[in-house]
């Protein structure tokens, strides 16, 4: 069966589920617009409510139309013309990978966007500018979709900053919490600094490749690094490349809240209200990971070991320090913010284990080719993490709407006795975030762990691989931080189920937010039971047939790189043997 058709079927199922959810969750809006309108006339305070609902409906429609465009052919619409052209060129394995990843990213983002819109309808009801929230979500979503497609680094930079701008608008205009002023100021300061950093990174990269185009950059960087004598601006191009990557990673680190670049992002995030926090995490995490994956295509592959080490160090501290802080923290919002940073660390570990897979390990090792590699695992985990995150925040938004103040861990006590369905969904999502089976979180973590360990253990088919203990240490930190965040998630679970409630049972009115939570919980379990749906989506370029028959053509440079890697590995091995 055609893999594209299979992808399409899997994605369609997801889309239909989303649509059904929409139909179930908003019958009032769909079938009683007149009465809502009349109520609004009677009670002017309700005006925002009706506007908000209509805005939500329009937003959903936009997403559905985008989805319909996307699914109508192999490569959809005007936005994707570039990809069609690119596919006709000789750039094969890496570009096919890009396109399949784009598909996965698009579908994931469409689903996540729908969830956040649904949450946003409830969240933005009492805001001054309710439709701004939904519009910004759509705007950011569009930016993210574009980011996975563009083949120009300057455009990538522009879109990245646009998405950050969107989050800034949310925090500026759609914030409910009291500490808004300082939060807004700090966010914009961070935004400017990260923008400058990324811009400098782009400039340096241009200096190396003398182009903003991805493919030209890739070619010229490769040629330049190959020649020993040539210097750019009086500096060896390798240093320039490394510098540009450092600037870009630092910028992404500031946006995502990676340590040591976070500069207060984690605390800032915890001060925002739950709806904004969800949007912030969705936009910045997706943008950061997309940029890292795109950079992997251009520049990471040329300096795999150094970049890997850099990302591993960032990943290690990002997994460990926030996890310790989360365990010690009593305030829920802060703890949650720290734990999202830990998940960011997991994602960076996935990216690090995926570096160089396009050229070196991926095409050589049949073993790695037969399962999702680091990048695919990262995309998988990104989606499931954001999904579970959206679900958790959906419940919190619904609770907030009812007047609950979830400030401390203990505020969850007895929630099961007050709202059984909501708390069961929340429990499923928390179990997923803790990485327990049978949820999507378990598979996501499993793939990242397997990949990070595989990188150091599997080299070439001809010889036994080299031993890289850094990945082992990282995997152990991965285990340790998983344990620590699992303790926090289970603490909340325990509070919900095993403690006596403070309030009497009551019905939650935030139906949109709750329905998105239910959908997220169902999808978490669904992907836990049927993980193949999303893996196949991220993995279409590597169907077993194509691997066995060697249908993936290899670009000459790729082969040269392979040879180079083999030689260096061989030399390294010889050196080790001599030492022994």
């Amino acid at each position: 069966m055609n893999p594209l058709l299979m992808d399409l079927s899997a994605a369609l199922i997801l889309m239909i589920s989303g649509f059904v959810m929409l139909l179930i969750s908003c019958p009032k809006i769909l079938f009683k617009p007149r009465s809502v309108y009349l109520q609004t006339l009677e009670d002017p305070d309700k005006e925002t409510v009706s506007n908000n609902s209509y805005s939500g409906m329009i937003s959903f429609l936009v997403i559905l139309v985008a989805g319909a465009f996307y699914f109508q052919s192999e490569f959809p619409g005007i936005l994707f013309e570039n990809i069609n052209e690119i596919e006709e060129t000789d750039f094969t394995s890496s570009l096919i990978q890009t396109s399949s990843l784009s598909k996965a990213v698009h579908i994931s983002l469409l689903i996540l966007g729908s969830l956040h819109l649904s949450i946003g309808i409830d969240f933005s009801k009492k805001l001054k500018h309710p439709s701004v929230y939904l519009a910004v979500i759509l705007f950011c979503l569009g930016s993210l979709l574009m980011m996975s497609l563009v083949q120009n680094i300057l455009l990538l930079f522009f879109l990245l900053e646009m998405s950050s701008l969107g989050v800034g608008l949310l925090i500026t205009f759609c914030e409910k919490n009291d500490a808004t002023k300082s939060t807004v100021r700090n966010y914009w300061m961070n935004h400017v600094v990260s923008m400058v950093l990324f811009f400098w990174g782009t400039v340096l990269l241009w200096g190396v490749g003398k182009s903003f185009d991805f493919f030209r950059l890739k070619e010229s960087v490769f040629l330049l690094l190959g020649s020993e004598s040539e210097k750019v601006w009086g500096v060896h191009p390798e240093y320039l490349l490394m510098g540009s990557i450092l600037f870009m990673v630092a910028s992404i680190g500031m946006k995502m809240g990676l340590i040591p670049f976070q500069s207060g992002t984690l605390i800032l995030r915890s001060k925002t209200s739950f709806g904004n926090m969800g949007a912030w995490i969705l936009v910045q995490f997706s943008a950061g990971i997309i940029v890292l994956i795109r950079l992997n295509e251009i520049s990471f592959v040329h300096l795999p070991e150094k970049i890997q080490l850099l990302l591993l160090m960032i990943s290690g501290v990002t997994m460990l320090i926030p996890a310790i802080l989360a365990v010690r923290e009593l305030e829920w919002a802060k703890s949650f913010s720290y734990m999202t940073a830990v998940h960011a660390g997991f994602l960076i570990l996935g990216v690090a284990s995926g570096i160089g897979t396009v050229t070196a390990v991926h095409s050589e090792s049949l073993f790695l080719a037969s399962m999702p590699n680091g990048i695919h695992s990262t995309v998988y985990y990104l989606f499931v993490f954001l999904l579970m995150n959206a679900g958790v925040l959906g419940v919190l938004v619904a609770l907030e709407k009812e007047g609950y103040k979830i400030r401390y861990m203990d505020d969850f006590r007895g929630l099961y006795h007050i709202h059984p369905p909501a708390s069961i969904c929340l429990a499923i999502l928390l179990i997923g975030l803790a990485g327990f089976p049978v949820t999507a979180g378990f598979w996501g973590r499993m793939f990242i762990a397997i990949n990070s360990l595989s990188v150091s253990t599997l080299g070439t088919a001809e010889a036994l691989p080299l031993f890289n203990p850094v990945f082992f240490v990282l995997a152990l930190i991965f285990c340790l931080s998983s344990l620590m965040i699992a303790i926090v998630y289970f603490q909340i679970l325990g509070s919900m189920f095993f403690q006596t409630p403070v309030k009497k049972s009551q019905k939650l009115s935030g139906q949109f937010a709750l329905s998105s939570t239910m959908f997220a919980a169902m999808l978490t379990v669904g992907l836990g039971l049927f993980p193949s749906a999303l893996i196949r989506l991220t993995n279409t370029n590597k169907s077993p047939d194509s691997i066995q028959t060697g249908s993936i053509q290899e670009k000459p440079e790729t082969l040269v790189l392979k040879e180079k890697n083999k030689t260096s590995r061989g030399e390294h091995r010889d050196a080790e043997t001599v030492n022994q």
């Binding site: 090792s365 073993f367 037969s370 599997l458 036994l464 303790i487 189920f497």
Partner: protein, 613 residues
């Protein structure tokens, strides 16, 4: 039809409790009695299937041992959403594993599928799991009037059946991922059970249980993933066209020593990874088993859990870790273990003396049982680490006997606890005068635990002692001393609560309830000897009709005490996984230059003993 059923017996055994859990959800509308009846029928069916498995299990004659498959009743289950496009499993037909027979080759599957099967040891543990479900089901009655207590509802019955199913899956699964999934889900189920029906300290206890168990399972996951990846790396270097991720644990465990002994480069490669894998697996299994120095969670958790979880933990869950050590760690790292076994044995012996002394110091019946359990676990670990076949047989026998006896012990103590709201030893005296059935069962349980001849415990303890004495006389003396300490503690307890003047705590309506150290409500204790009339007027029984079911466990204790050979033969059929791989081990010593065949600094010299049977 019957043949198909026998062929897929393992799968059926795993699924039956799950179906039971679904039926319980359905019949919950007809009340607790209906649910309880459903669970009891399900447990009876599981016991019946276990008996069928025993009847159809082919125990080989000694001369035919190689001709019979180690794993029998093999079936393949696929993950619901088969990971098509991701070939996790290696092509089984190409593996050289001795147990991969023709029948298994037909079961080639793609994606994440798991083979389930039973060898002799696993069969014994499956039977043990079925058997201990009897006291677990009855642990829902509070006043032993034969009726389930109100607080135990549909969730309780469903959870215990799910736990049973997961235990079966964990014991019979040969696939690494399925093993880890069942292990993690088991932790989740026990977490919920403790949280919902635990004692006053359940929050603290639950947190501790989760911390330790999650840490353990994460380390085990790390070790197992690394093992499979390292194996796949080795396999891909030898046969590049066959390289996919091999997840079958028996295949990995059997093939890695062979590959290491045949290839110097592979041996060097393995040497790089082995310490990482070894220590993560070892510490992981130590934590989940509650072995010294990671034993603290068990003593805390077991005293505050509901009786059902205490039975599950002490009777079977802890043994999963020991089995993991025996079947995964020992065959893969003989040289590392030999170099460290002296250290470990010393640690376990010190821990066993310490816990035996703690047993003596306890005044709480549940805590006493917990420390007794911990003490015996350390001794079992000593038996496993002595690198002696006889001691290992003894350890396995002891694990099974210990499981049966402790399931009864914790159930009987929970009866006292539920009736009298206390488990302090001081509160009871002369119980045999009034509660003769309870006293009979309690006595038999404790006699078996301390190794009175003619009971199951004796066969295990005796075999273990023989094995340890073959390895080191000094160690056997220490072990003997520990058994004496245990016997002292147990007989002192028996004398105190079963014999002497009759005394039981009575809850007087309106009287103030005292809180004891464990947060339990402790009623005022009245001296009932003064009221003889009352004593004879209404002799209430602690155990009613459930006695006939519990008597099955006593029969098992007596039967295997008198005929230990029946179970020994079954265990012996596991053969290769149990006996030390001396040949591959010694050849590995020759290949790997860093590990000379000299006597290691810390370790015992492995002694070659034949099969015990």
């Amino acid at each position: 039809m019957w043949n198909t059923l026998i062929q897929h017996l393992t799968l059926i055994i795993c699924i039956v409790p799950l179906i039971g859990a679904c039926i319980v959800l359905f019949v919950s509308r007809w009340g607790r009695s209906a649910m309880r009846m459903t669970v009891m029928m399900n447990v009876a069916l599981s016991c019946f299937l276990s008996v069928v498995a025993v009847a159809y299990f082919q125990v080989p004659a000694e001369e035919n041992q190689d001709k019979i498959q180690q794993f029998q009743f093999e079936s393949v289950i696929g993950w619901p959403g088969n990971l098509s496009g991701i070939s996790f499993n290696k092509d089984l037909s190409e593996t050289n594993g001795k147990h991969v027979q023709d029948q298994t080759r037909q079961n080639q599957v793609s994606g994440l599928s798991s083979r389930l099967g039973m060898d002799g040891i696993r069969l014994c543990f499956v039977c043990l799991t079925s058997l201990i479900m009897i006291p677990i089901v009855f642990s829902d009655s509070v006043h032993s009037e034969g009726k389930p207590e109100k607080k135990f509802g549909v969730s309780f019955y469903s959870l215990i059946l799910i736990a049973e199913s997961l235990l079966f899956l964990n014991l019979t699964s040969m696939n690494m991922i399925m093993y880890l999934i069942s292990f993690q889900l088991l932790i989740l189920v026990f977490y919920l059970t403790i949280g919902l029906w635990g004692g006053k300290e359940k929050r603290r206890v639950n947190r501790k249980y989760l911390q330790f168990q999650t840490a353990g399972i994460l380390l085990i996951s790390f070790g197992l993933i690394l093992t499979t990846i390292a194996y796949s790396g080795i396999a891909s270097s030898i046969a590049p066209e066959k390289s996919t991720l091999e997840l079958s644990l028996p295949v990995i465990v059997q093939e890695i020593p062979d590959l290491i002994s045949s290839n110097l480069e592979v041996a060097e490669y393995w040497q790089q990874f082995s310490p990482w894998i070894f220590y993560s697996l070892l510490i992981g299994f130590f934590i989940t088993t509650g072995l010294f120095p990671f034993h603290t969670w068990f003593s805390t958790v077991n005293s505050e859990t509901p009786a059902s979880v205490a039975i599950f933990l002490s009777a079977i869950s802890l043994k999963i870790g020991l089995l993991g050590l025996l079947e995964i760690v020992f065959p893969l790292f003989p040289e590392l273990l030999v170099s460290l076994n002296g250290l470990f044995i010393s640690l376990f012996l010190i821990a066993s003396i310490y816990t035996a002394l703690l047993t003596l110091a306890q005044d709480d019946l549940r805590k006493m049982g917990t420390y007794l359990c911990l003490c015996q676990l350390q001794l079992i670990a000593v038996g496993i680490f002595t690198f002696n076949d006889v001691a290992r047989y003894g350890a396995i026998l002891m694990m099974i006997g210990h499981g049966v006896a402790f399931s009864l012990y914790f159930y009987l103590v929970s009866l006292l606890e539920n009736r009298f709201k206390t488990r302090e030893m001081e509160a009871f005296s002369g119980l045999s005068r009034k509660y003769s059935t309870w006293s009979f069962l309690f006595g038999m349980t404790l006699f078996s635990l301390v190794g009175v001849p003619g009971l199951f415990g004796f066969t295990g303890i005796f075999t273990l002692l023989v094995g340890i004495s073959q390895a080191s006389f000094l160690y056997s003396l220490v072990v003997l001393f520990v058994f004496v300490l245990q016997g002292w503690a147990v007989f002192w307890m028996l004398q105190k609560i079963l014999f002497g003047e009759f005394r039981e705590p009575v809850f007087v309506e309106g009287s103030s309830m005292l809180k004891n150290d464990h947060g339990l409500n402790q009623p005022e204790i009245l001296d009932r000897t003064s009221s003889e009339q009352e004593f004879h007027a209404e002799p209430k029984r602690l155990i009613r009709f459930e006695f006939y079911f519990l008597f099955l466990l006593v029969i098992a204790l007596v039967f295997f005490g008198i005929f230990p050979n029946t179970i020994l033969k079954t265990i012996d059929s596991a053969g290769n996984s149990l006996k030390m791989k001396r040949e591959s081990h010694s050849s590995m010593m020759k290949v790997v230059p860093n590990h000379s065949a000299d006597t290691p600094q810390w370790g015992l010299v492995p002694r070659s003993e034949g099969s015990f049977t």
